[in-house]
Subunit: 307 residues, 6 copies
């Protein structure tokens, strides 16, 4: 049985060497990258049994993605099909907080995925099904599929996890809101970046209030608000706990949020309390920041050495 | 005044280091690549004044292409617009004659280019206007644009050059044929790979016969048949001349045909005779094969040292 | 159920860039490498369901090996334990046929592996169990384990495959002979390089005679003699078939033999005839030679395109 | 018409990978670098039409420089001639503020450049002619040429821009002073680093006083004093304005001053006020510091995103 | 005559590119590294005549070590013998103060070195003989050899230098203590990291007290306590002096302690006073931190520019 | 005592990655390179005790050269002085036999070397003193120094070795001839490439005749004519012997001639006969061709494995 099943797109991420502008570069570094596969990799490495569901093109590019996920021990159940391999380019890694990302993910194979393409029994027999707000933003088909998967999981008493993960290049806050209000009622465990709570749901109060908004409005059991360099806060049954970040020398900040979720779930699905899970998530995110690429290529020992 | 104006798509070419499978690579080499821009670069470096017309996305990727073409001194008149940057991936450079190429060029900005987008006066005042069979294969709009440009050039007494350049990933031989029979009557100087003459036009005779077929059937002044490692043959006014290849250690064979055309035109437009132009083309193609990337980064001195 | 279970050591292979002497190099390329894991990777990629059994150190080095094997989809059942990660260094890739290899594999974790450490049910339920002459050469314990595994497989009616794979740095021909005569009677399908047949078993006759020697002397069903650039010959029920090599530009010859076996088994275990399997093996070996590293990172499509 | 014409030397800059001492390195990174070409590149990329005048050796090294400048869209009018390609080596990029630079620029082709070698009409029809104190320091011929060019520009009512840019490896402060007092009266817009004002002209007062000294002593319209991490101050018609630096993570500080000038001129020649130009200059310099190489490979969008 | 003779192991250090986890890396950087050879290199580069004594395997790996030491001008007197080349791997360079190092140095050639293998006359005619606590920790043979060498040096009136250099992967504090109490009475100049004084000898008082403990307990002339980012303190004849660190941007902290010793000895053996030697040591250590690898590839000019 | 003392220039050689044109490259590989230091490195590695005499600039560049020579165990006696570090660039390694080399060696420090700068006792006590025709071609001072050194060696009964080594970028054949006729009478052992014998001395006969010409005309004891891919022929006392080349896959042909001389001398100065020395020279040259850089980074074992 799989502890965690995630569903979403995985891209190839292309980035020039440090200090080299994309416009001038003669080489690109290649990494697999996608919110839901990032979470699966982090969680698998930290002890869970995970599987990632998706569609990929039947080509060396699709296999490049698969091969990197497999290398971390993640199980995959992936349709190899027509369509493109989504990619994204990072222009300048070094302008603090002013990263320039170019997505080229239109017509990616994943966009046509329907529930009938997917191994629903794996979803039904998992401990948790997880996806993010990126997936329904990618296509109308994927919105339907996401919605149905959340219901299928719910019907089978599988906990559902969801990260809002707003991407301004995919949709406007208003569009995101319209879609998310349909999906959030099916979510048991919500991750929401503090800034998305403001941007999409106009929550500008203290972090606990923002968390409470989601709990109340959509009947969500557990809400985790990630707060960037301020750490993270979790709310369950009306009581909030929080964890601070760990100080590291940042080499690559992309994927911190997914690393946080992967680390959090590793402990949460293992039955640990919220505070432990939050701290574990923050430590995993911190370690991720010392590694090039979107993936948290770390170990339980490393995470624990940080705690 | 510009000697040579070319029109077409330019992609980014991504290739792994020698011996590294695309499926496993952690780095990609990046080069600008496109039949008509390849020809412009080769011709410019060998003495012509050239300009390349196209559309590119207004992004670091589009600028990456422009910057490489500019670096060789080619003038560009390019609309920066919506749309994707076309790319292609080379999987295995090493299986002799069994290269595996993955195109990812759908929705490229160039596909929506109309004659109104282009600086027609530059076309009208050039010595030659050049494009290839790849361009009309990319979209219906581009077919129209190509056709109109050939007519505009013809009406202005600008010589028109055209390379058949059949690409099986873009269309079938039958589709190619249907399109090309419309365009070829407007062509003054035709380049046609020997294998395309067979594949599309069912010409299987001796090379001179194949050349004569195009001259007769479409009323083309000068026909140059490229014959891979057998060199090239040109036919004008019923009489044929030919040139052999030059022996070099091949590092990268992609772009040989375009290098040939660029070298040929450098002499042809300068008024040299067909034999000289053919030999110059073969030498340029041979030098290209010693260089990584699609472009013939060479000099007149190097070409001459080979002759 | 797994089609093919292999057992043996996997090392890390360190090699300097082309043309750089090991004594001077400032960088090393890293690849996973080991006869039995090489075979598993080739076979898995070409369609079989494979698993590799072994011991590795519980360290980033052990995980480096695992991660590369997983990336190709091979299932592993590996004890993470004390001991070293075996490595080997390639000094000069370029002196044709005069490669200089430095093994540093003493005290590798794998050397203490006992049958009790291994998932015997996986062995018993496979189609084939495979190992090579390298494994029993590594330690007395491994000799016992190899011998027992062959028996366990035999008792469970699992076909046993074995490659003689003589390594002069591990033992003398006389030592090899003494050990192999004990093991070969348990083998159903034998791979033996032509030169090993001579060196260890003093077989100097025509290749069919050499094959017959093993069939007769040890009661082996099927004997495949690999003949380097002369291809390979197989003997079953007294009748021999052979296949030629495929011409490619060699980038890295190490691992050709394992690629051959992996390709052969992909077809053999799928029920194809000997001739088909031999040709498939030769094509896989040829493709391997175009790839840096020990592994045949290829696909059924690539292999078929060569046939 | 060209907005900005600059004249000076461009070198090749060779630097080892981060953390690698020059004495031990097995590879060098290569970039084009020269104060006046740096300014042209920055200004061109930020919207001006620029041309760079110089002499270069007729060799792959001279073409390497040209090709990098062309790649940024700078027009060049360069004599290809005898002489060396000047180069410089960076030893240790990492000892903050203790960079070790080795110039090897003697006998560079540029040193023999006379006004008759140059396209004076381009100078006369530009909006601004720009050079720096490095140029007259390189040879007696270049001093004469610089002096004559400033006069030719002045006679044609072309604004003249000049950066003091003192280099201790080229001349002493006393030598610099003797030369500069001859040239400064012909300058309309002066850039002077605060430390040069002290070192050469013994100005140690507040920055506005230093600026006023140049305005008064040499009759210069506009004086801009660059103040390193303290930003920059400009004085015109007796009134001073200033701008602060923008905080970035510095990867390579070389070329900040030239990036500042290029950014400043982009706005200044476009008619913006001094304050706007200063801020634009500071933002361009800050972005430059995030990029490896001497050149400010940036865009108006990036600069504006920083403002 | 040689000023400084050092004796110990030198390994090859393998490290992945910045930000790349060892578990995933496809390339490793290679450097020579060993406490006593690090000291010899630093001291030689800063003006001493040094020799390093050891055993190495007679292989490209042993020669790789020798060649790097020779490149810095260190003289070597090394037995080429059986045995392994010790190596170590650095997993994550970036987690500040949480470096993960994997030693693979068992069975290294050096472990069997006896005094009869060594050129004792070189020891006897040196100004100083130097080794560290790592050497006796490597094998019983090396403990004997170290002990005898200290006596041989003492008998010949050669000053003996020793750095405690505790390595938790080699022995426990208790084992270290038992061994060191035997050796320290033969030491004239002791270097001891502050943390080792606490860990092994339970000295937790102020730094001068810790130093006094060694002077009193073992009759050591001069005791230097290194204090990481707090600099260093030296005690002789009951009076203490200290020096602060120099601020630099750290690229690689490994080898700081050895660089400190090398810099200190360069001045100390030249007859300078303790304070000068301490400052020189701190400056050398600071420069080392700006360089990738264990070695302080610096010059007297660079060190002095920092003072 | 030193077996072999050589005198000449050593440059830094800069070359782009394979297939990358110099005009476009963003990185350069760095190697030490110079005929007489190449010979010293080859001979030292193959068993002789060698020293190289020269002048180098007192800079990281000069130290870069020294450090590479030291790394091979060559002793150096070098004045660190003013002047430049000579460099050379390789443009295209791949156009067989059409290598494009750019020398930038004017004003190199070495050019002002006088005999009084050199340790003449080392010359007088060597077995052989060796230099090449490149040295006297570099400056009038160096011609004098070369001439005097040959006399000093002769007077001290030190065998003198000399390689004609004509370089068309340094002088014309006529100039070379005029100079060499002055020097050759002082030479005991001459190496002369077959093509130089023709170009400079108009010797077009069979190789033995060409050798005899030098023996007779200048009274030279032993004449070795190198014949590129035809191997080499030696003449002494009127009788000629020859050796063939060894077949290898050439990666870098530069330095073959020097490797030949180094290998030849290793055996010749050890007392072996001419035939042995010739074969050893050819094997060393062949191995050199498998290595990037000018130096024959090989071992006696490797050479012998080829014989
Ligand atoms: N500067 C930082 N240092 C250490 N950890 C950080 C830092 N910034 C973010 N994190 C960690 O990463 C987690 C997610 O950060 P966030 O910025 O929300 O990620 P993202 O926007 O990539 O989803 C935070 O909860 C925190 O634990
Ligand atoms: N093996 C070769 N060696 C040298 N030149 C070659 C070789 N193959 C092709 N060429 C040159 O390249 C030209 C174009 O070759 P072709 O195979 O038609 O190119 P493409 O298919 O890339 O358009 C030929 O006319 C010839 O001059
Ligand atoms: N030069 C070659 N070209 C193509 N294929 C080859 C070549 N040499 C060997 N092979 C293939 O590799 C297989 C194994 O070769 P062999 O030399 O026996 O491998 P190894 O010694 O590595 O085990 C051969 O049967 C053949 O199919
Ligand atoms: N540490 C810094 N951070 C950001 N911008 C800086 C920094 N140092 C300098 N700059 C910018 O670069 C400009 C030029 O700096 P300066 O040190 O005078 O350059 P240079 O000496 O290279 O000519 C300054 O005016 C400022 O705008
Ligand atoms: N952060 C730092 N910045 C500058 N110098 C330092 C720093 N840390 C250590 N040093 C220098 O290195 C010396 C040795 O440091 P230490 O940590 O004891 O080295 P190690 O543990 O590697 O032996 C110190 O005495 C100091 O001079
Ligand atoms: N193609 C080759 N293969 C193997 N060895 C060669 C080859 N060409 C030259 N050599 C060896 O190198 C030696 C010197 O060659 P030569 O061309 O004279 O060198 P150079 O011109 O570099 O001085 C020859 O005597 C021969 O031994």
């Amino acid at each position: 049985m799989t502890d965690l099943v995630t569903f979403g797109e995985s891209m190839l991420r292309f980035s020039p060497p440090t200090g080299e502008p994309l416009e001038r570069t003669d080489t690109l570094d290649v990494h697999a990258a996608g919110a839901e596969s990032n979470v699966a990799v982090a969680a698998q490495r930290l002890g869970l049994d995970t599987a990632w569901l998706s569609k990929l093109p039947d080509s060396p590019l699709g296999r490049r993605v698969l091969s990197e996920l497999h290398s971390h021990g993640v199980d995959t159940d992936v349709v190899l099909d027509e369509g493109r391999q989504g990619v994204y380019y990072i222009d300048r890694e070094s302008i603090t907080e002013r990263r320039n990302v170019i997505y080229d993910r239109d017509d990616a194979s994943v966009r046509t995925t329907r529930v009938e393409d997917l191994p629903l029994d794996r979803v039904r027999s998992a401990d948790m099904f997880y996806t993010t707000g990126i997936t329904p933003a990618l296509s109308a088909t994927l919105f339907d599929t996401t919605s149905e998967l959340l219901d299928i999981a719910g019907d089978a008493d599988v906990t559902t996890g969801f990260d809002v993960n707003y991407r301004s290049k995919l949709w406007t806050p208003a569009e995101a809101r319209d879609t998310l209000v349909d999906l959030l009622p099916s979510v048991d465990l919500l991750f929401v970046p503090e800034r998305d709570a403001e941007l999409i749901f106009e929550q500008t109060g203290p972090v606990e209030e923002r968390a409470a908004y989601f709990a109340d409005e959509f009947g969500i059991d557990t809400v985790v608000v990630t707060q960037g360099s301020d750490g993270a806060t979790a709310l369950r049954d009306g009581s909030a706990v929080r964890a601070d970040t760990f100080e590291v020398e940042t080499i690559d900040s992309i994927g911190s949020g997914d690393a946080f979720v992967g680390g959090f779930l590793a402990r949460y699905l293992d039955g640990d309390d919220l505070t432990t899970a939050l701290r574990y998530g923050c430590a995993t995110a911190a370690l991720k920041r010392t590694i090039r690429g979107d993936l948290a290529v770390t170990t339980p020992e490393e995470v624990e050495s940080l705690l």
